[in-house]
């Protein structure tokens, strides 16, 4: 089964790569099946190919670590079904197939979750997934009422033909559906538990690929239906920008306070997707959104696989139970370091490229407050990023077990090496993906990103050279290293982990030294951050659930389990219906 999954993932990669540049198109008129005027089809557009590539890369990465997990045949079957549904979503040329793909994706994800999740988390997920699907269906129906076609090509005509109120209703329904999938803050209630409890094998895919379907759906909505040229200054643009920014800022501070590695990264996912949602509020923002989607997919695959390796070796998933693993797992440490540097968007790695593109877009568009807020969120991310690497690898080991633990198996390291290589290459050549993004943008009749060479990214207002940056960085680093090595001084190695300067005292076994895992606690004392940290969207959803429960008791009183009583009620209803029908 494991080999099969690897073969299938390679086939998927190969299949997607053959579609690049091709104009593959398949369309069928459902009239012959008794559905007059309904045309459905699949089309390999450049945009679809890009997201299909993300799906394939993600699947390839997790199939490499599959050998370390005992997964049943049913799990694999569902995984392949999920893969099919994802490809259906991206290659669909109409909202009917898109909806089918969306629904299959939601249900297969539910079934995959059912292997690992608690009952409560499962219910949360399925309720939200169904709400998303129903809302999507409603939106599609509203659009169909005007366009009388499911095809994306007719969607814009249909959208314009809608009355102003229906337009608003349509957009709200669609946004609701996609925001749930993206886990935009306020709609992320299902997401935390699902990420935390799902199999470590599946979480990378969940964060890196499944959430990107929300981005893809949003792009489809904005480009094909609403027409992104007309978006600036509308309420839709403000909604996207504000929701995206709120996601980025709130999720960043929420992440700082998490003790579970997977929950921290789940919040980080929300924050990063927030950037993409924000930048999609601009007509020129699609390039940055695509770039950041790519980087986020690579980074989150890397980070979640790294953490999967840690959990595999230690069977612990909390910062408070880990620590001090750096010299036991040096390779994992360096790989995580590459991951977090990219996640933070630090030069000289690729994370900076995508963020830079987003920033210049915002600057040129004159959205200065949005830009400042985004820079702020990005700088705040340092806290949770440091917590991630400190809690696992630095500080003090919290258990004696960790003194003899070994490096994670090769199966975990290989995908991480491949992904970090991609991140480094894209850091040196930040312009390497721009020509392909420009084909996408041209196809969608949007303004292209200025392209000079593979090493240069940017426009007239600002640009940078990734190659010079990387060479200078490596050069300076090596020179300082050589200088320090040339100074002869030999320090004695610390004999044990208590060999530290500790305010004149001598720490022992009972001293609590892995201090940093609880960093971020003091933020509760800061005004508005405290407000964010103390409040939770669960209050709202708990209220809704209580009200629904109360409402349901009314029906439970009617359906009391007393058969004769129920029969009488049913008969009464039947009589009323009969009378109404005859009248």
């Amino acid at each position: 089964m494991r080999v099969l999954s690897l073969i299938i993932s390679l086939l998927a990669l190969w299949g997607v790569s053959t579609l690049f540049g091709s104009e593959a198109h398949w369309q069928i008129d459902m009239g012959s099946f008794g559905l007059e005027g309904v045309v459905i089809g699949l089309k390999a557009t450049a945009l679809a190919n890009f997201f299909a590539l993300l799906i394939a890369i993600g699947f390839f990465s997790i199939s490499l670590i599959a050998s370390k997990y005992k997964l049943s045949k049913g799990f694999y079957a569902l995984l392949y079904l999920l893969l099919v549904s994802l490809f259906l979503i991206v290659y669909a040329e109409d909202y009917l197939l898109f909806f089918v793909g969306w629904e299959v994706m939601s249900v297969t994800t539910y079934l995959l979750f059912s292997y690992d999740l608690s009952r409560e988390a499962l219910i949360k997920y399925i309720v939200f997934a169904l709400a998303s699907a129903m809302s999507l269906l409603g939106g599609i129906m509203v659009l169909y009422s005007a366009s009388h076609s499911f095809l994306y090509t007719d969607a814009h005509q249909g959208f314009i033909a809608l009355s102003a109120t229906l337009q608003v209703i349509f957009i709200l329904l669609m946004l609701f559906a996609f925001f749930i999938k993206l886990g935009v803050i306020g709609f992320h209630y299902w997401l935390m538990d699902s990420y935390e409890q799902s199999s470590d094998f599946f979480t990378p895919y969940l964060s890196a690929v499944l959430s990107k379907m929300g981005i893809y759906a949003l792009i489809i909505l904005l480009v094909y239906v609403v027409d992104i040229h007309m978006i600036s200054g509308t309420w839709l643009a403000y909604t996207l920008a504000i929701m995206g920014l709120l996601s980025s800022i709130i999720a960043t501070f929420k992440a700082v306070n998490e003790d579970s590695m997977k929950r921290l990264l789940a919040y980080s996912s929300i924050a990063q997707l927030g950037y993409i949602v924000t930048v999609l509020s601009m007509a020129d923002g699609l390039g940055g959104a695509l770039y950041h989607s790519l980087i986020h997919t690579l980074v989150k695959l890397l980070l979640f696989i790294n953490i999967a390796g840690i959990i595999y070796m230690t069977a612990r998933s909390k910062f408070s139970e880990l620590g001090g693993l750096i010299y036991r797992m040096p390779q994992s440490f360096v790989l995580l370091l590459i991951g977090i540097i990219s996640l933070a968007g630090m030069p000289p790695l690729a994370g900076f490229a995508s963020k830079f593109l987003i920033y210049t877009t915002l600057l040129e568009g004159g959205n200065l407050l949005i830009l400042s807020a985004m820079l702020f969120a990005s700088a705040s991310a340092f806290l949770y990023i440091y917590k991630l690497i400190y809690g696992i690898y630095l500080g003090h080991p919290t258990s004696k077990r960790y003194e003899t633990i070994r490096e994670v198996p090769l199966a975990f390291l290989i995908p991480q090496y491949l992904l970090s290589l991609l991140l480094i290459v894209a850091g040196v050549y930040p312009g390497i993906v721009i020509p392909y993004f420009n084909t996408i943008l041209k196809e969608l009749r949007l303004e292209t990103i200025p392209f000079e060479s593979y090493t240069i990214l940017g426009s007239e207002m600002a640009s940078y050279n990734g190659f010079v940056l990387m060479s200078a960085f490596v050069g300076v680093f090596v020179l300082i290293l050589l200088f320090m090595l040339s100074l002869r001084s030999k320090a004695k190695e610390a004999k044990d982990r208590f060999d530290i300067a500790y305010c004149g005292e001598v720490p022992d076994e009972g001293t609590h030294l892995h201090y940093g895992f609880s960093m971020g606690k003091e933020l509760k004392r800061v005004g508005f951050i405290g407000v964010i940290l103390r409040n939770s969207s669960s209050v709202f959803y708990d209220y809704i659930s209580r009200q629904l429960f109360g409402f349901a008791t009314v029906f439970r009183k009617l359906y009391s389990g007393n058969l004769s009583f129920n029969f009488n009620i049913a008969a009464l209803f039947a009589l009323i219906l009969l009378w109404w029908g005859l009248r």
Binding site: G324, L383, Y390, L394, M484, A501
Partner: protein, 297 residues
């Protein structure tokens, strides 16, 4: 040629940075009615420590921390042009921009945080946590001001921003300048935002586990980084410089302000400084931004 240019930039920043640091100690002493050390004392200390033995080693990452931090400081310096017109002393600024510099400035603290973390000293990590917390707070008003300046100059190129100021930005957009100054005081690690290093009395802070040549490296990078930050502020708000004399007096005036500010005020706790920075300077910056953009139209 570029190598020579970079080397000269580095040497200038190293010496001027240390002399400024000596002046800081000296002037602060005069504020407190002490005589204080000589101006070159910190410089001598730095040279001396390069030859000293370290107390202890915590493995390779412990050593890489200060090296990454120094790399971050020097990279920041290389991407900031000293003069807005001249070819020499422009370093690599033609290959980068202000966004890059803003991010390079964050590289050092993160690198050092790794080294401190692996040292396993809880007091070091305490300093790092405080530092990162202060970092995001001080960045907020600074970013708003910088973004407004970029928008006014319609460029993210530092030399262009410096050269395009007919009236210097500090006077043309005083609110932005004031907001950025608050952040700048915090960036320089000055009181009231100096709880990170807590330089005098508390045995904590990022440097607590380092000694010998690595302590010296930390001191040197701090001097270089301070000078780089001063040059950046001069470029952004004080109209840049056209020669060494102009650069030195402008940076010195700015530096003197920071010292004077720090000598007067007591220290904030971390949450207090975060609270202050995301309230007062941020509001000033936002008002300044609105003024500046309304002015431009």
């Amino acid at each position: 040629m570029i190598i020579l240019d970079l080397a000269l930039m580095l040497i200038t920043a190293y010496f001027v940075g240390f002399i400024y640091y000596g002046l800081y100690r000296n002037i602060t002493a005069r504020f407190q009615r002490r005589i204080g050390p000589t101006i070159f004392q910190s410089f001598y200390d730095s040279i001396k420590f390069f030859g000293k033995k370290e107390a202890i080693s915590h493995g390779w990452m412990f050593y890489l921390g200060p090296i990454i931090m120094a790399t971050g400081a020097i990279m920041t310096l290389f991407f900031i042009p000293f003069f807005y017109q001249s070819e020499s002393f422009s370093g690599l600024s033609g290959y980068g921009n202000l966004f890059l510099v803003l991010y390079l400035m964050l590289l050092g603290p993160l690198g050092n945080a790794m080294g401190v973390g692996v040292g396993g000293n809880p007091f070091g990590v305490m300093g790092v946590t405080r530092g990162l917390t202060r970092l995001f707070a001080l960045e907020l008003p600074f970013y708003i001001a910088v973004v407004a300046i970029m928008s006014i100059s319609q460029s993210a190129d530092i030399a262009t921003i410096a050269g395009s100021q007919t009236t210097i930005n500090a006077f043309a957009h005083p609110l932005l300048f004031i907001a950025a100054l608050f952040s700048f005081v915090a960036m320089m690690g000055q009181s009231p935002f100096d709880v990170v290093g807590a330089p005098v009395e508390v045995y904590s802070g990022p440097a607590s586990e380092f000694s010998g040549k690595f302590l010296s490296l930390l001191m040197s990078q701090s001097a270089i980084f301070s000078f780089a930050k001063l040059v950046l502020m001069v470029n952004l708000f004080l109209g840049g410089a056209d020669g060494f004399f102009e650069l030195l007096w402008k940076t010195f005036v700015l530096f003197l302000f920071v010292i004077a500010f720090g000598a007067i005020y007591g220290r904030f706790k971390t949450p207090q400084s975060v609270d202050f920075l995301i309230k007062v300077p941020t509001v000033i910056a936002i008002v300044g931004l609105i003024f500046a953009t309304a002015w431009g139209n």
